[in-house]
C-alpha cells in the first residue's frame, strides 16, 4: 500500500462473537453512537442490509457512506466504497462483517483487505466477526460443527487489533432469538438449527470465542509492556518475574509436502507458535535436483501450501535433499529449531510394515528435538 508509508496506522477494534445473532453489530453500532455523541467523526462504512430491526434502529443518526454498486452476472451487488472512504477520511469507520468475500469486480477479494487500506490511511476501524472465521481455528471448527468455513481471516489481521470485545449471550437466549425469527428468515431457521446452532455446537463455539478473546487480551498486555518500557511484574504469572529474557524461546519448523493434510499442519503450527510466542518457519524438501523437475501436480500443491504459509506470515524455505527426513532434521539443527511439526504418514499398511514411516524416521533422528506429529482427524471423519 504505497501511498501510506508514512501515515500512522489506524487502530483496529474487533467485536468477536460465536454465531450470527449474538449482537456484535448491535454492540458496534451502540458504541459508535456513543463515540459520535462525544464529538468523534464516525462513519458507518458498511453494514449488512439484512440486519435485524433493533439493529437498524441503532443506525439512526449515524452518517452512512453510500455503498459501491457492482454489477456481476446481471445482478447488482453492494460493497463498501473504500475509495470514497479514503476521500471522506473519517476518524472512525464502522465496518460490519470483516470476513466477507467481495463480489468479483470489487478491486480487492476480501473485505479485510479493504480494511487494511483504511488502516494504512490512518482511519480507525471498528469491525465485527465470528470466531469460525479465524483462519487457524478452521480445522477445529470443522471438527466441532462438521462445517467447512470458506470465508476466513488470517490470524495476523486479528492480532493487529488494539482492542477486541467478546460479545457474549447464552446459547439459550440465542436459540430463542433464532426461533422468534429475529436472526434469520423463517425458511432459514430450520437449516440453522441443523448447522451451527445444533446441540453442543453453540457451547463449543462460545468457549472457543471466550478463550480466543482472553488470548488476544493477553497479547495486548504484552504489547503494552513492550512499548511502555516498564517491566511490570505480572502478578498472576506463575513463573518468577524478572527472569532472563525468555529462556525457552521456541522455534517451530513446519514440514511442507504436497499432501492435502499440510494445510492442517500449517494452521496448527501457526497457532502453537502464537501461543508459545515462538518463531515459525516452513520447509519443503525436494528430492529432485531442481524444484522444476517435480511433477506439475505436486509442484502446484506445494506452491499452494507455501503461499498459504506465507499468507499466515510464516517464513518459507525450499531446499533439496535425497533423504527428506535427514534434511529436515539437519535443517532444524542448523536453525536452532526446538519443535518440528510433521503430518501423520499416509502410507499403506504394507509399506509401513516393510519400512518405518516418515514421522518415525524424523522422531528417531531428531533425538533431543521435540517432534509434533499432527493427526488429520478430518480423514477419519470423512472416511
Amino acid at each position: 500500500m504505497p501511498e501510506a508509508e508514512n501515515a500512522p496506522l489506524g487502530k483496529l477494534k474487533v467485536y468477536l462473537g460465536y454465531a450470527a445473532g449474538v449482537g456484535k453489530t448491535f454492540q458496534m453500532l451502540a458504541d459508535g453512537q456513543t463515540a459520535a455523541q462525544r464529538g468523534l467523526d464516525v462513519v458507518l462504512a458498511y453494514f449488512e442490509p439484512h440486519a435485524r430491526p433493533d439493529t437498524i434502529a441503532q443506525v439512526q443518526g449515524l452518517e452512512i457512506q453510500p455503498y459501491r454498486k457492482i454489477n456481476y452476472r446481471d445482478r447488482t451487488f453492494e460493497e463498501m466504497d473504500t475509495e470514497a472512504l479514503l476521500r471522506r477520511k473519517p476518524q472512525i469507520a464502522l465496518v460490519d462483517e470483516l470476513a466477507h468475500m467481495n463480489v468479483p469486480g470489487s478491486g480487492r477479494t476480501k473485505r479485510w483487505e479493504d480494511v487494511q487500506v483504511l488502516l494504512h490511511a490512518g482511519i480507525e476501524v471498528w469491525t465485527t466477526m465470528n470466531v469460525q472465521h479465524i483462519e487457524s481455528l478452521n480445522d477445529q471448527i470443522w471438527r466441532i460443527t462438521g462445517i467447512q468455513v470458506r470465508e476466513t481471516v488470517p490470524d495476523w489481521v486479528i492480532r493487529q487489533a488494539a482492542e477486541l470485545v467478546a460479545v457474549d449471550v447464552t446459547p439459550e437466549a440465542l436459540l430463542n432469538r433464532l426461533k422468534r425469527g429475529a436472526i434469520y428468515k423463517p425458511e432459514m431457521v430450520q437449516k440453522a438449527l441443523q448447522g451451527f446452532f445444533k446441540g453442543s455446537n453453540l457451547g463449543a463455539l462460545r468457549e472457543l470465542t471466550l478463550r480466543q478473546a482472553a488470548h488476544e487480551v493477553d497479547l495486548q498486555q504484552s504489547a503494552y509492556d513492550e512499548t511502555s518500557n516498564v517491566q511490570a511484574p505480572r502478578t498472576s504469572e506463575t513463573s518468577p518475574a524478572g527472569k532472563a529474557d525468555n529462556p525457552w524461546k521456541e522455534r517451530i519448523l513446519i514440514h511442507i509436502t504436497a499432501d492435502p493434510s499440510t494445510a492442517i499442519l500449517i494452521r496448527r503450527g501457526r497457532r502453537v507458535a502464537d501461543y508459545l510466542h515462538a518463531d515459525c518457519m516452513a520447509l519443503f524438501v525436494h528430492r529432485t535436483t531442481e524444484v522444476s523437475q517435480l511433477p506439475a501436480s505436486e509442484r502446484e500443491a506445494v506452491e499452494k501450501h507455501l503461499r498459504f504459509a506465507r499468507g499466515l506470515q510464516i517464513e518459507t524455505l525450499v531446499v533439496g535433499g535425497s533423504d527428506v527426513a535427514r534434511t529436515v532434521v539437519e535443517f532444524a539443527r542448523h536453525n536452532q529449531v526446538t519443535q518440528i511439526f510433521v503430518a501423520q504418514s499416509q502410507t499403506r499398511l504394507g509399506e509401513r510394515l516393510r519400512s518405518r514411516n516418515f514421522a518415525e524416521n524424523i522422531v528417531r533422528m531428531a533425538e533431543d528435538l521435540q517432534v509434533t506429529v499432527v493427526a488429520d482427524r478430518s480423514r477419519r471423519l470423512r472416511s
Binding site: 487502530k11 477494534k13 458504541d31 462525544r38 480507525e124 480445522d139 477445529q140 471438527r143 466441532i144 488494539a162 482492542e163 470485545v165 467478546a166 460479545v167 457474549d168 449471550v169 447464552t170 439459550e172 437466549a173 446441540g199 453442543s200 457451547g203 463449543a204 462460545r206 468457549e207 472457543l208 471466550l210 478463550r211 478473546a213 482472553a214 488470548h215 487480551v217 493477553d218 495486548q220 498486555q221 504489547a223 503494552y224 509492556d225 511502555s228 516498564v230 511490570a232 505480572r234 502478578t235 498472576s236 504469572e237 506463575t238 513463573s239 525457552w248 501461543y275 508459545l276 510466542h277 533425538e367 521435540q370 509434533t372 482427524r377
Partner: protein, 338 residues
Amino acid sequence: MRISELPRPNPERLLKQVQAEESKRWGARLKIFLGYAPGVGKSYRMLDEARRRRERGEDVVVGAVQRQPSGELQALLRKLERIEPLATSSGQAMDLDAILRRAPQVCVIDPLAAENPPGSRNRYRWQDVQELMRNGVSVLTSVNLLHVEEYREKVQAITGKQTTEAIPKSFLLAADDIVIVDVPTDLCLWRLGEKLTPTGISNSRERELSELRELALLLTAEVVDAQLESYVHAHGIEPVFGTHERFLVCITPQSNAKTMIESGKRNKERFQGELFVVYVRRPQDTDKEKAAIESHLESARDAGATIEVLESNDPIEAITEFAQQNRITQIFIGRRSH
C-alpha cells in the same frame, strides 16, 4: 497472564450435582451476569433483560438493587416492580420473605455478593438465592470477579482491592447460564467518570483492568466448558474435541519425564489448557523404577497436573483410551534417556 487453575470438577459428579439441584428447583433457573470490574455494565444488561422479559409477559420482580443506581439504571427500574428492602438496625437488607410471599416467576438480585445483617435467616445473599430457587423462583443476578472466592487473592494482588463479600466458584459452576459482560477497559473507566482514552491499553490502570478482563473471560470459558461436558454426558453424544488444549504426558521410568512435564506445564500455561500425566503400571517394575516414577509423579503434582496411574498389559491401548475419554489434544511421548 498465566493462571494456575484449581483442579477441575469431575464431570460425572458435577452432572449428578446439577441434576440433584435441578430436581429440587421446580424448573427455576439461575442466570449470572459476570463482569471483570465495576463499570462494565452488568446491572444495565441484567435489568434490560428483566425489562424485555416483563414486556414478553414473564412475571418479573426486582428483589435487590445496588446502593446508588445511576440515572440509566433508575430509568430501567421505573419500568419494573420492586420488592422494598427491609430496614434493619445495621442497614437495608433484601426482604426474602416478602419475595417468597409474592412468588414471582423471576427475581432480579443485584448484586449477588452481599452479607446479610446479623439475625437474618441466611448469612449470605447467595444462600437466599438458593432458597428462592428451591421455591421455584428463577433468579437473574450479577457478580463482579473480585467477589468470587477463588479469585479474591489474585484480584487483590493485581488491584490492591479487598473484599469480605465472596461467593464460592462452585456456585457459578452450578448456574444454568452465565454471561460475561465484556467491554474495553477504556469504556469501563469512562463509565466510572474518567476521561476516554484511545482504543487499546493506554495506561497502567487499563493494564490492570485488562488482567482482570482476561481472568473473567477464562472463568466464563471454564463454566461454559463444564456445561458442555454435562450436556455431552446427559445426551450421550461424542465428546467435543478442540475447544481447548488438553495435554497428556506419558511417563515411564526410563523416559526424560522431567523435561516433558516441564514442557507440558509451559504449554498448559500458555494455552490456558489442562495437563494430564499418566503412567501405565507394569507388574515387572523394580523398586528402583518405582522410585523413579514416584519422583516423576511428584514433579507432575508440582506442575498442577491431573495424575492417573493406569493398570494394563497393553500400554498403547490404555493411553489411547484415556486420551479419547479425556478429549486430549496433544500427547507427549518421551525417548529413552541413555
